[in-house]
Each structure stands twice: as C-alpha cells, then as structure tokens.
C-alpha cells in the first residue's frame, strides 16, 4: 500500500520539530509564481470592470485562495475558505449601517455650520470624528478575526471569541493619547494595540501571545522629528544648486524669479516625500520585526526578518510596476505583498498535532465590510 504524498512521516505522529536554520527549509514557504497567478489577476480585472466593481469581492476571494494555497507552513499548505458573497454581504451591511448615516450626519453638520452655530457644529463634528475612530478600531479587529477564521491549516482554523467592541474603545483612547505630547507616544499606542488584538486571537486550541514593546523602535520613531530639518537644509542646498546650474546655463542672464517660485516648492515636496518615505520604511521595518518577533502561538515563535532595504525594494518595485504598466500592474500588488510577507516570515519551536484541535471560537457571519467601508488595510 502506497501512501499519498504529504501523509508520510509527519501526519500520524504527533510532535513536529522545526528549526528554520541554515540548510533546512524554513517553516514558511511561498511556492506561487506570477505566471501562474496572471490568469487569475487578469480575469479578475475583466470581471470587475464589466460588473462595475461588484465582482471585486469574488476577485479578492480568488486571489486569496491562490495565495493561501501556494503558502506552505511546515508540512502543509494554508487554505482560504472565505467566499466572495460574505465579503459582499459585509460591505452591504456596512454601507447601510454606517456610510449612509454618516453622510446624513455630515449634511446636518454642514447645515448647522452654515446657520452660524460653530460651537454646536464643533461638538457634533468631534463626536462624529471620535465615533469614526472607534469604528475604525472595531473594523481592524474584526477584519483580522475574519481572516483568521477563514484560514485553515491541517483542517483547523483560527478566530477570536471577542467581537472587537472593547478593542474599539482601546483603539480610540490609545490613538488619542498617542498623539498627545507631540506624538511621542505613537510607538507605544501602535505596539500596545497590536498586543491587545493579537492576544485576543487564537488558532486551533492555542491563543496567540503578543509581547511587543515600543522601547526598541522608539529611537527609529524619533527620526520623524528630523524631517523638517532635512527639508529645510535639503531645500537650501537644492536651491543653491539650481541657481548655480541655471545661471551657468543662461550665461549671465539672471534667473527668472517666477521660475524659482515653481521649482523650489517642487524640490521641497520631493525632499519631503523622500525623507518621510525613507524614515517611514525604517520605522515600519523595525515595528514589524518587533511585533512579529514577540508573537507566539502555543510552542511556536515567529520572526519577521525584512530589513528597511527590503521594504524599500518592495515599495520601489510596486511603484515601478504600476508606472511601467500604466496602472495595470496594480492587479499584481496583492501577490507581491503577500509573497514578500511570507518570504520574510520565520517560525521556530514545536507544535504537537495530537492536541492541535479545532477552534471553538464563533465563526463570524460576514466579511470585512466595515474595513472596506473605511478603506483601510488589515494588520
């Protein structure tokens, strides 16, 4: 009797040991290829266009089915079991429950303002803003919970018992607190919120445990405060260079000051974008290494090893792809991001399959509607 592939040494025995050191396969592996993915991406694009975007929910599902199925963790691949219909339903719910009431409240707000009650308008505006922030927190939590609950590995799924309503409050006050003191508490608010939502998540019988700390990323966060100085000094240098070039080129003619009025802001904007982008990459790379590195599940520890330069390459690649293909390359961004994410994920430790049993968390009924409505990404 021959065993089907994949059944052999690991299946029936319990404990799995992994060490993702040199010479061995890592715990995570992405086995997809863009040629294999292209037919999915292009048919998704076609169907999304002819259905005026409604197919986007089914398109996203097909994309995830492919990406998950080409992601091996230890000895078996992941499986995405979400459906396009539940994503669609989630969006419709969110639209009627939140988007339309918000639009109406906004209209009333304008009315109050135009009638000359700035005080009342400010109160209502602040209330709307805080409510939106609360709902954003709930949306982030629920999207993560939905994604885990639809991800299967070894026939076992993840999930969370909490509905995310408490996380919404946490998100609200921590985000507000984070912006106090010149934003110095932002790293703390980001890591503590990550810890709180991942601590609520589980996979199979095991709870995730997140212990990220803002200490190790704080110095990199301080780089953001250098931006004004970089822009100021960079602009002066650039202005001098431009002045030098143009006067050299026009051989004696003074530079048109109006041309300078246009060139200088463009240079400043470029330097600003470049500095912000570079620092954001540095900070975000450190943040992601920290939060994933302090995450455990049962006997498993995780690690994310992408450095700043890896993130820059990813983003430059993404931007280049979109520009060179005149925008059509957008359909490959999800693929690129996922491949990047999986390639840099590592896991160590031990998982005993004998007590790796089905999740007992409640299955959420619909998808990431709220998140879609507010147009924000998960993680």
């Amino acid at each position: 009797m021959t065993l089907p592939p994949g059944c052999a040494p690991l299946g029936v025995t319990g404990g799995i040991f992994m060490a993702s050191g040199a010479g061995r396969r890592g715990a995570f592996e992405f086995t997809g290829g863009w040629r294999e993915f292209a037919p999915i991406a292009f048919s998704n694009l076609l169907l999304s266009i002819v259905t005026l975007g409604i197919y986007i929910f089914w398109a996203r599902t097909r994309e995830r089915q492919y990406l998950w199925s080409r992601t091996r963790f230890i000895d078996d691949r992941l499986e995405w079991t979400g459906t396009g219909f539940e994503l669609f339903l989630g969006y419709v719910f969110a639209f009627f429950l939140f988007v339309i009431p918000f639009a109406l409240l906004n209209l009333i707000l304008q009315g109050i303002l135009m009638r000359g009650h700035p005080g009342a308008a400010a109160v209502l505006g602040l209330f709307l803003y805080l409510l939106l922030m609360y709902l954003t927190g709930v949306a982030i939590f629920r999207a993560l919970r939905y994604r885990l609950s639809r991800t299967f590995w070894h026939g076992i799924r993840g999930g969370a018992d909490s509905q995310g309503l408490a996380f919404g409050w946490s998100y609200l006050w921590r985000t507000v607190t984070g912006t106090l003191v010149l934003g110095l508490l932002i790293p703390w608010s980001m890591t503590s919120l990550w810890n709180e939502r991942w601590d609520a998540m589980s996979f199979g019988p095991h709870r995730f445990d997140a212990n990220a700390s803002s200490d190790r990323i704080f110095l990199k966060f301080l780089l953001f405060y250098l931006v004004p100085f970089i822009v100021f000094i960079g602009s002066i240098i650039a202005a001098l260079l431009v002045a030098g070039f143009t006067s050299a080129a026009s051989a004696g003619d003074p530079i048109d000051p109006r041309a300078m009025n246009v060139i200088l802001p463009v240079i400043m904007l470029l330097i600003y974008g470049f500095a912000i982008g570079l620092i954001a990459m540095t900070y975000y790379a450190a943040y992601f290494r920290e939060v994933v590195g302090k995450l455990t599940l049962g006997g498993l520890e995780f690690e994310f090893d992408a450095q700043t330069w890896d993130w820059i390459k990813l983003y430059l690649g993404n931007i280049g792809l979109v520009i060179v293909t005149l925008g059509i390359g957008r359909i490959f961004l999800g693929y690129r991001n996922w491949a990047f994410f999986i390639r840099h994920m590592k896991a160590y430790g031990e998982l005993n399959l004998d007590d790796f049993t089905q999740s007992t968390t409640r299955l959420p009924g619909q998808g990431e509607g709220l998140l879609d409505a507010f147009d924000i990404g998960a993680f």
């Binding site: 089907p4 994949g6 059944c7 690991l10 299946g11 029936v12 319990g14 048919s43 076609l46 169907l47 999304s48 002819v50 259905t51 005026l52 975007g53 409604i54 197919y55 986007i56 929910f57 089914w58 097909r62 199925s69 691949r77 499986e79 396009g84 969006y91 639209f95 939140f98 988007v99 918000f102 639009a103 906004n106 209209l107 009333i108 707000l109 304008q110 009315g111 303002l113 135009m114 009638r115 000359g116 700035p118 308008a121 400010a122 299967f152 590995w153 070894h154 026939g155 076992i156 799924r157 199979g204 399959l353 004998d354 790796f356 049993t357 089905q358 299955l363 879609d372 409505a373 147009d375």
Partner: protein, 367 residues
Amino acid sequence: MPLTSARSEAARPGLHVWHYDGVSGVKQQRLLKIHDDAFRLISPDGAWESYAFADLIARDTQDGGAVFALKKRPGWRIGFAGAVPEEIAEHLPRVRRYGGLIDRVGLWRSSFVFAVLAAGAITLFLRTPAAVARAVPPSLERKLGDLMVGDFGHRACAGPGGPEALAAMLQRIDPKDRTLDVRVVNLPIVNAVTLPGGKIVIFNRLLQEARTPEEIAGVLAHEIGHVRHHDVMESLLRQLGLSVLLGGLDGKVGGYTNTLLAATYSRDAEARADGYALDALNQAGVSPEPMAQFFRRMAGGEMKGEGAARIMTYFSTHPMSEDRARRFDQAARGHGGYRPVLDADAWAKLRAICSSDPDAEKPGFRF
C-alpha cells in the same frame, strides 16, 4: 463485464486518500470505497463512516490531486494523490472557478452579458436623475436647501438699500416667480451658486469684480436658468447615484458632503442655463453684452493671481470659453432698446451691501 459484476462491493479495491476530520489536526489515511450514491471512508483499523457524494464541495487541487470539503463540516477534507479513477470521478463535483454563475455560462459570454448590463445601468443612472429631479416636490427641495445652508447666519449681507436693489434686479429679470431666494454672502469668492429650493447665493467678491450691474444680472439670470431646469437636484442625485453605483470599487465615508457641495453641472446644463439667461435678459430689456465682456475678462486672466482669495473662482464651476462669450455677443445683436438694469445709486448700494452692513460677518474662515 462478467468479471466485475461477479465481484462483491466489499471486494472492490478502495482508493487511498488523505483525510482531515476537521476536529483534530492530525492528517489521517483512509480507504475510499463507493457504496451506491455514497462512499465510505475506512480507517486502517477497519472502522468506517459513510458520506453522500452530494455533500462534497470541490476545493482547489493540491500538488495535482483534487481536494474536497464536506458541507457543514468546517475543516473536513479528503484529498487524492494524482488522478482519480473514472468510476469515482464521475460522482465528484466540479471545481468552482470564477463563481457559480460565471462557471455555468462561461467567462467570455458572462463578461459580455455583464458589460451589456453595466452599460444599461450606467445609462439608467445618468438618465434617471433628470426625471427624478423634476418629480421632487418644491417643498422637499426647499427643506433640503434649508438643511444644507439654512439662512447663512450672519454671513448674509443686508446693508441699507442693498436687498431692495437686489429685489429690483430680480423683479426685472424674472417678474413672475416669488419663490426665488437670492442673497449676497460675505465671502471672498468670485462666484455664484444655486442651491436646492431656488436659493441663489452671490458671493460678495463677485459684486466687487463686476463693472456693471448688467454683469450681475447676467450671472443671476444664468443661475435662475439652473433653478428652472432643476439642475441642482439632478446633479445631486447623479453624484449620489454614482457614488452608490461605484461604491463597490471604493467606498469612503468622508468626501460625500464635499461631493454634494462641489456638485458641478454638465456642459449641456451650462449651455441650457446660458440659453435661459439670454432669453430672460432680452425679454427684460437688459443687455447681455456686458456678460460677454465679463467672460472675456475672466478668461483673459485679468483677475487671476491676486492671492489665496482667488483660489475658488468662477472657472472652477463654470467652464469658460470664447464660445460662451460669443453667444452672449450675438444675442445682443439686432436687439435694441436696452435699458440699464439698475440706476447708479441702486448699483452703488448693491455693491456696498456687505461693507455697509455692520451685522454682516467679515470674511475669513473661523470654522
């Protein structure tokens, strides 16, 4: 066939499959055997469970082998290694690719059908607002206008003689309608807007930039044209309809009100409003020629670039072209007997409607 029919069901060789039961994460091996419309999964110790083929759901293939899930049993999977023998394959459901409906019809055919439906939906969405806008009762429209702007609080100007001059101008251009509500608002914007419910707002800066009362009369007649043609409601409904229609692509909470307020009209609507204005001016004996000069002055850039106050100009909402100016010029030809729309005294009072009103709030953004 005698050989196979002689064999008993139990003696048939089963097929090895891998199996997750959805309860434990341990990958198991089972022997799959057909049993009428059902199949049995037999474990190595001989115990078996029976399942209906109809309850299977095809999942993606894995390493070339088909994988199936079971209805109402999350995580339950069986997977074949390599090709599945015909006698089993004929019982198995097909893989869903694009979605149930599209798989049945085929990708290209369903794309074509969707494209036709989409074209129909877009046409419907572009046509319907005009019809609906005409059906909206005036009282409802007025309420909507009130909701959006109210009476502008202290921004509306009422300097001595100003409102009377405005009323006189309105009376000349449009003697019949009493429901129009025209106000001057103290904001440094060279523009005039029409809001739902026959509310027309002229911004103070426009009054200051105008050289003759006829220019203001022309702008006013143009805005009355928008009121008569229900252009505001139509534009609002169209924006709303499009944002719902395209909601699947990009749904954002913010920006809705901005869309509402920044609602612009189509070129057709502008041309129709111009046509209405020309008729109204000629019937009222007001020369449309200054309006043409006004257009040329605006288009010539004479009024551009004087600081941030000019960011919102007439251009942003009213496409400017030499054609429009020419149309007003031509309308003036062959007509005679134009009389001034306001005398010099009334015109001076109208222009000072904000500066002479101590209650009018000064321009500036305090919100």
